[in-house]
């Protein structure tokens, strides 16, 4: 048995741990050897590597007390709950004791989390990324929630963040508190930091030095520090983008015949432009220029947010009414729906059905001619 285990990759220390752990130390050497061989074969067939099996059995030597039938049933139970084989491997590598939980016990653990405000599918999803979530006691999770409330987050925000960043409960309270303070040191108020991290929970995973480096990188594009702090406040997802991706996005917008200075102003005015689909941006740029209001793109960039479907429909409506849109009256395209209805007696829904942008581009593949 010792030779087999050494060949498998166990160290002598590992072997000692296994043979001296209760109740494995109650088994005869032959029975224990048979269990080890059978279970190792089963685990290998299920997709674990030798090292993963060693790590699991060091965390939970009792894995060698279970029969193959028992392990198969446990995998079936987990699959019935919605986990895939790869999820089961991932979860059990981190929490091998799951193989020892009865299905009722696992369901109880899931139900405890549901009572906190998650759906069944959300609990399953979080536990795929953060396996300890499934076995954590409700008291432990409640304590973590209370700790985060003390930092300044609301209950709803905590539940939301944990769905987006399943590792949220794994961070220590000190770690989160420190992260909040670090972000405040960049120039944000606490309220802003809370909002920013709720919008982009992945920020909890970034070291503050990485965030500072990203800020320095964005400054090199031509923004001031204050600009970057504002851009992050409005569009924190920009921190997920590599600087090269931001450069490419800016270059792509410049290629739509803007100067770099214009693009920087546009982004300062409308930071989400960094994340927008360039095809969508391009369609809008071509359209507004084609109808003679291209100047608006730099002087009032925020109007770019409006869906092109609606801009096209309203433009077409005005054109049909004999109203020419120009830089003096282009705001007619962007008025609130209730004002539009009260003045022109037609809703957005009716407009976009009557003047359909998708059909228009199909008919004008070569160039958005209005």
């Amino acid at each position: 048995m010792i030779e087999y285990m050494l060949d498998f990759g166990f160290t002598e220390e590992n072997i000692n741990k296994i043979i001296n752990t209760y109740p494995l130390n109650e088994l005869t050497e032959n029975t224990l050897f048979l269990n080890i061989q059978n279970n190792n074969s089963f685990f290998i067939n299920f997709g674990y590597t030798n090292q993963e099996i060693i790590n699991m059995t060091m965390l939970y030597p009792n894995l060698y007390t279970y029969s193959i039938h028992n392990l198969e049933n446990k995998i079936k139970d987990l699959k019935d709950l919605g986990y895939l084989n790869k999820d089961i491997r991932k979860i059990t590598k981190e929490v091998p004791s799951i193989y020892g939980y009865s299905i009722e016990n696992i369901k109880n653990k899931l139900n405890e989390k549901i009572k906190l405000g998650y759906t069944f599918n959300e609990v399953v999803k979080i536990s795929k990324y953060s396996p300890s979530f499934i076995v954590s006691s409700k008291e432990k999770i409640k304590q973590k929630i209370e700790d985060r409330i003390k930092i300044g987050y609301s209950y709803n925000e905590i539940i939301k963040i944990s769905k987006q960043n399943p590792f949220f409960y794994n961070y220590s309270t000190n770690n989160i508190s420190q992260k909040v303070n670090n972000l405040m040191d960049l120039g944000y108020t606490k309220e802003e930091v809370i909002k920013i991290t709720v919008k982009e929970p992945s920020l909890f995973g970034y070291d503050i030095e990485i965030i500072k480096e990203k800020i320095r990188n964005i400054i090199t594009i031509g923004f001031s520090y204050i600009d970057v702090i504002y851009i992050i406040k409005i569009f924190p997802a920009c921190l997920n983008l590599d600087i090269e991706k931001i450069f490419i996005k800016i270059r792509d917008i410049i290629n739509l015949d803007f100067t770099k200075e214009e693009v920087l102003i546009m982004i300062k005015t409308y930071p989400a432009l960094i994340g927008c689909d360039i095809k969508n941006t391009k369609d809008k740029v071509i359209f507004y220029r084609s109808i003679g209001i291209g100047e608006m793109l730099t002087s009032n960039t925020k109007q770019m947010i409006q869906s092109i479907d609606l801009s096209y429909a309203r433009y077409s409506f005005f054109k049909e009414q004999g109203i020419e849109i120009n830089m003096d009256n282009y705001k007619k395209l962007f008025v609130q729906q209730k004002d539009f209805i009260s003045k022109y007696k037609i809703s957005n829904k009716e407009l976009i059905e009557k003047y359909n942008y998708s059909e228009f581009i199909k008919e004008n593949k070569n160039g958005l001619l209005i």
Binding site: K160, I196, N240, D277, S307, I308
Partner: protein, 131 residues
């Protein structure tokens, strides 16, 4: 990722999405299908869906349940063209229903009336993210 190809997202665009949100690799085909179907159910066409996913890949990572509750909330408060609102500002899909309530309550506290608040939100959905 077939469903993403089907709505016109290119291989390069998918690569970019995965670079930003590597977790998306773990999302099942069924999850992606559901997310696309939810958008179709509110009137988004493939062009809108492509814009939404490329601009806000995090949408794929959201809970279906939360998205459905959010959409119900938008319908309840009287947003008439949710597809246009999301095409305008795909990041709106990162909101939870409670955030809409909070936003509306904050605006009501500024003595605005509910109709104006909804109209403002409809014409410029990004105002919900202005801190």
């Amino acid at each position: 990722m077939d469903y993403l190809f089907n709505i016109g997202i290119s291989e390069l665009e998918i690569k970019n999405i995965l670079e930003i949100y590597p977790n998306i690799k773990e999302i099942t085909k069924n999850d992606i299908y559901n997310k696309i179907e939810i958008l179709k159910s509110i009137g988004c066409n493939n062009r809108h869906i492509k814009n939404i996913i490329i601009s806000n890949p995090n949408y794929l990572n959201r809970s279906d349940n939360d998205i459905l509750i959010l959409i119900k909330k938008l319908i309840k408060i009287g947003i008439l063209n949710i597809n246009l609102l999301l095409d305008s500002y795909p990041y709106f899909l990162n909101k939870d229903s409670y955030e809409i309530d909070e936003y509306i309550n904050n605006e009501l506290n500024k003595e605005k009336n509910i109709e104006d608040i909804i109209n403002e939100l409809e014409i410029n959905p990004s105002i919900i993210d202005i801190i």
